[in-house]
């Protein structure tokens, strides 16, 4: 007589149940639109994601330190492309941006907004879509902008480098990326759609992450000055 275990296996093979055909699409769509949570574990997730992303980047941008970006790499919620990208607009605007102050900005985005002592208090504070804080400073050399956002797996900015060059630098023992030459920066809406009206040209960008938050400093040159500003964050 057949063993009942074999019969059960046979019964299992006869199960007609299947996943719906569009399951992967439905799940991916839900993941993309899942609301940001700022639970402790989520911050931890972001930190780990950042760590893994940084490891990936180390491999992607190999020694010598200054390397040509082959295609695309991701670092701290930013996807860096080698290419021209969308045309920068004269007065870039980010959908969902509103003026606020430092304390309110932190409450809105769910992390502590830090400021660089080296630049003094910001001239203006803007929150974009409850997820990005923009601090603007006025310097004799020109306008300076510092953006802060949680660097989880969502891509929030596309960055296009026309020279195809990025420099990996050390910032207080962590990885940072320096873009010496002009790049085009485009804000990416939740859902992954880029907002062309946000395309702006940046000159001298330092990108780094601390505790799951990405910082992007635009407009401070040369590299040594940018590193000094980044080191003065409080």
């Amino acid at each position: 007589m057949t063993d009942v275990r074999d019969e059960l296996r046979e019964l299992g093979r006869g199960i007609a149940v299947k996943a719906r055909d569009d399951l992967a699409d439905v799940v991916l769509a839900r993941i993309r639109t899942a609301p940001r949570r700022t639970h402790k574990w989520r911050r931890w997730l972001a930190a780990l994601g950042a760590l893994l992303a940084a490891v990936g980047v180390s491999a992607a941008v190999s020694a010598p330190v200054r390397a040509t970006i082959a295609q695309v790499f991701r670092f701290g919620g930013t996807e860096v492309h080698s290419g021209v990208g969308p045309t920068p607009v004269a007065s870039p605007s980010l959908p969902g941006a509103s003026r606020t102050d430092l304390a309110a900005a932190g409450r809105d985005v769910g992390f502590v907004v830090r400021t660089p002592v080296a630049l003094g208090p910001p001239e203006s504070v803007t929150v974009v879509g409850h997820r990005v804080v923009e601090l603007r400073f006025s310097r004799p050399s020109g306008p300076v902008q510092l953006d802060e956002f949680v660097s989880d797996s969502d891509i929030m900015f596309d960055k296009y480098t026309m020279s195809g060059l990025a420099q990996r630098v050390d910032l207080n023992g962590g990885d940072a990326f320096w873009f010496e030459l002009p790049t085009t920066l485009v804000y990416v809406l939740p859902g992954g759609v880029a907002a062309p009206e946000s395309a702006r040209l940046t000159n001298g960008t330092l990108l780094w992450m601390v505790d799951g938050v990405t910082y992007r400093l635009d407009g401070v040159r040369p590299l040594a000055a940018a590193l000094a500003v980044a080191s003065s964050m409080q």
């Binding site: 009942v4 275990r5 019969e7 059960l8 296996r9 046979e10 019964l11 299992g12 093979r13 006869g14 199960i15 007609a16 149940v17 299947k18 996943a19 719906r20 399951l23 992967a24 699409d25 439905v26 799940v27 991916l28 839900r30 993941i31 993309r32 899942a34 574990w41 931890w44 997730l45 780990l48 994601g49 893994l52 992303a53 490891v55 990936g56 991701r74 797996s153 891509i155």
Partner: protein, 181 residues
């Protein structure tokens, strides 16, 4: 691959969903999700994605995912099942497993019904362990992770559940035999 998903290549997760979708769906149904199976599976994959950073990439993904499916099924059905009689639950389990369309199988329809009826008479935990070990054909190790039980417990419970199943089947035979006389 999983490390790459965690690192931000979100769309790669779609490959995992496609690969394990049907297994997840069967698991949900066998754990009693019934008409909620679609929702349970979606919910489980979204939860799995969010929990990925806690997943140890050196471990097996399949049983880890199935544990999430089991938890999700139990969470979804707990409230509903409390209000339903055991008999209804078993009936729905039968219906889902058998399905309406004829499926190629070496078992006779009669034998299939016998087995299903016998499984239906088992207590929930016995049925679940047999479903994992044989209907889904998972190893002891995988079952132990998916059901969050020590390996030794999986072994002893499986043996006990099989014994009970054989007993029930034997009684069914006798009853059928008597009916034929």
């Amino acid at each position: 691959m999983i490390a790459r998903v965690i690192a931000g290549e979100r769309d790669l997760f779609g490959i995992l969903v496609t690969r394990y979708g049907t297994l997840a769906q069967r698991t949900a149904v066998l754990c009693g999700a019934a008409s909620d199976a679609d929702d349970v599976v979606q919910e489980a994959f979204v939860s799995a994605y969010q929990a990925l950073p806690r997943f140890n990439v050196r471990e097996a993904f399949r049983p880890w995912l199935l544990r999430i499916v089991v938890n999700q099924t139990h969470n979804t059905t707990r409230a509903r099942n409390r209000a339903r009689k055991l008999a209804d639950r078993v009936a729905s389990w039968h219906h889902d497993v058998v399905a309406d369309e004829p499926v190629a199988t070496a078992l006779s329809l009669e034998r299939r019904d016998e087995l299903l009826r016998a499984l239906g008479e088992l207590r929930e935990s016995d049925r679940e362990i047999l479903a994992f070990r044989y209907l889904l054909d998972l190893s002891e190790a995988e079952t132990s992770i998916a059901l969050k039980l020590p390996k030794g417990t999986v072994k002893s419970r499986t043996a006990r559940a099989l014994r009970r199943l054989r007993d029930i089947l034997a009684v069914q035979r006798i009853e059928v035999g008597v009916g034929d006389d």
